[in-house]
Point group: C2
Chain length 87, copies 2
Amino acid sequence: MNDLFKALNDPTRRQILELLKEKDLMAGEIAAHFDISKPSISHHLDLLKRADLVIGIRQGQFISYSLNMSVFEEVIQWLMQFKEIKP
Amino acid sequence: MNDLFKALNDPTRRQILELLKEKDLMAGEIAAHFDISKPSISHHLDLLKRADLVIGIRQGQFISYSLNMSVFEEVIQWLMQFKEIKP
DNA sequence: TAGTTATTTAGGCAAATGTCTAATTATTAA
DNA sequence: TTAATAATTAGACATTTGCCTAAATAACTA
């Protein structure tokens, strides 16, 4: 849960997730959307990977990133507990 | 959304939310649950307030904190977008 | 009013975070 | 095998974060 919220706590990383929602992208394609150096984007992708929010698969020279939907459910469930009625 | 994820990105603050889920508490009661100084807890409560996740109401000498449920929905909705089917 | 209790604000410090450039690794192509 | 391209890793630096102690504010009580 800690890694998850840490990964989500950055506007660039959240935007990367929104890009990947539309379609899978190569690391370079992702970087092209931002005014940030490629190494920095690579670092953001690393954090997203550690949190299991995205998966990177090498395709030859490139690495294709995609969302790992299932982990979002975990965060949603954690948040849902607060919607229950108080005793 | 930024303030929200920032506020959620800390284990102490998440635990405070879980405590308040059970029942409203005074600042001092919250602090008593942690091995952290009262000023630090006060600072955590301030971040939670800024994110609108909690509300603090003075009751005489004390300040009673309670969850502001409605804001959780906002985060849940943001996360839900990733569960939709890809085109 | 003076003293006590509850809480926050201020200021300082170490650790974590986000960014950059330079160097490295992996893969393809000539 | 050498050169070129894609991406990551390494190291440095400024900013942010979380914690502390000391001081300030707010409200009750004798």
